[in-house]
């Protein structure tokens, strides 16, 4: 239950009491509460836990991390 997984925001709906969004988890679309991530936009990746987006995944930073690892010397 503790797992939080990344999904991509497909659409955002602000017509109700809560800011909600449809999030794509590798082809499975789920309705997620975006109330805690007002900065998140369509196309962004969100980290989702028990029905709530809790953070935005900074893709540029993630790619930088991987690029830095590529630079590591092979033993």
């Amino acid at each position: 239950m503790c797992l939080a997984i990344p999904g991509q925001i497909v659409s955002i709906d602000t017509s109700g009491t809560l800011r909600m969004g449809r999030v794509d988890f590798g082809g499975v679309i789920q309705e997620i509460c975006l109330e805690y991530t007002p900065e998140i936009a369509v196309g962004d990746y969100a980290i989702v836990h028990v029905g709530f987006a809790i953070a935005k995944l900074d893709l540029d930073r993630a790619n930088e991390i991987l690029a830095t690892i590529d630079q590591l010397p092979l033993g």
């Binding site: 239950m1 991530t37 836990h49 690892i69």
Partner: protein, 379 residues
């Protein structure tokens, strides 16, 4: 579609090499997150590391630390006629002092599995719109700092809509007080710590500085993918091996977690909850380590709404969960592991939840041969 690949075998191999090159002495590193426990076992990360690095698992599974009294209360409430009891699936088979929620369900209790606290709120909203229904929806609200904002939102919404058919049995626990309790024991034997990335995503990681300084333990805020875990371990090993030591809190989950955390989530948690002393199964009462509903939300407290007995529940079993949860032993070192105790007949909560350390070892030990095949790195 996958956003990033944090499990690439080449990256894993490169990171393992850095760790090997850095390690000159035995170190014990603790993680405190069920998701990390599983990833470590699932990808065989413990097998890839040099033998001198021992990974132990702290009280990182909220299901495992939910006290037996609370399980007993859950069963009592769920068995009350007219109650719809909503819980995460992992709680169903956690043993109370007499049976579990699954057995209550098979005796006719209306126990429903939810994936978000908002599902319980929605159910209550639907009930309240149904004329003549006087059913009560109860949310079993467990989890760490990561989950508390979701519960807080469900309760805040229930109050906004004046739902009187909704309440929550709250058992939220906080990680830093548990770490303090573990490290306060002189013989804790832990050299470094991987702090759970998603907890920090909510709370930020200011509070970890105090733990790092007070106990002289380097801390890496760490995620859940193989690359995340290895970067965390690498950072902690580097800190441990540096001369002179300069123990710090370092965020290696920097693409997701920030030092401030999620202010919106923190606000809602503060609006709904106050700190309280809390019993941790296998550990005992830890001061200011749990969340309780604030007075203005007391109406939504299931403990108050349902007059439940609170007999002291006792635990009589050879289960060594207390030592597993403090990182003193690994599950395989428990004499009951795999023999008396297995997922079909769990003696303790860590064997029940799929985030429990004992269940993770049991599951992945049996497929050990295939284990390091996904991430082929020669030792």
């Amino acid at each position: 579609m996958q956003a990033t690949d944090f499990g690439n075998p080449n990256h894993v191999a490169l990171l393992v090499q850095q760790i090997r090159a850095k390690t000159t002495r035995p170190w014990t590193i603790m993680e405190v997150c069920g998701g990390q426990t599983h990833a470590i076992l699932r990808y065989g990360i413990d097998q890839l590391l040099p033998d001198s690095i021992r990974i132990v698992h702290g009280p990182g599974c909220p299901v495992c630390v939910t006290p037996i009294e609370t399980i007993d209360q859950a069963i009592q409430i769920a068995s009350t006629p007219g109650v719809i009891f909503c819980t995460f699936g992992d709680m169903l088979r956690v043993p109370g002092s007499d049976g579990d929620l699954m057995q209550a369900k098979s005796r006719g209790a209306d126990v429903r599995i939810i994936h978000s606290p908002m599902e319980a709120y929605q159910l209550a909203l639907a009930e309240s719109n149904q004329t003549g229904s006087n059913r009560q929806v109860v949310l079993f609200a467990i989890g760490f700092e990561t989950t508390a904002p979701a519960t807080a939102m469900a309760i805040r919404m229930a109050k906004e809509k004046n739902l009187d058919c909704f309440s929550a049995l709250v058992c939220h626990v906080l990680v830093p007080p548990a770490l303090e309790a573990i490290f306060s024991d002189e013989n804790h034997g832990i050299d470094g710590l991987l702090a759970a990335g998603h907890v920090c995503t909510i709370t930020g990681y200011h509070s970890y500085d105090a733990i790092c300084n007070r106990f002289g333990i380097p801390i890496a805020i760490t995620g859940f993918e193989p690359v995340d875990l290895l970067r965390g371990i690498w950072n902690v090993v580097e800190q441990l091996e540096s001369q002179p030591r300069n123990d710090r809190v370092v965020n290696v989950y920097e693409h997701i977690a920030t030092i401030q955390g999620n202010a919106h989530a923190q606000q809602t948690v503060d609006e709904v909850f106050a700190l309280c002393d809390q019993t941790w199964r296998g550990i005992g009462i830890l001061p200011q380590s749990g969340l309780k509903l604030k007075e203005k939300y007391a109406l939504y407290d299931a403990q108050k709404r349902f007059s439940i007995r609170s007999d002291r529940s006792t635990e009589a079993s050879p289960c060594r969960a207390a030592d597993v949860l403090r990182g003193k032993i690994r599950p395989v070192e428990c004499p009951a592991f795999g023999s008396l105790c297995n997922p079909g007949n769990p003696l303790g909560a860590p064997m029940v939840s799929n985030e429990g350390a004992c269940a993770a070892y049991y599951l992945y030990q049996s497929i050990k041969e295939d284990k390091s095949q996904d991430l082929e790195v020669d030792r």
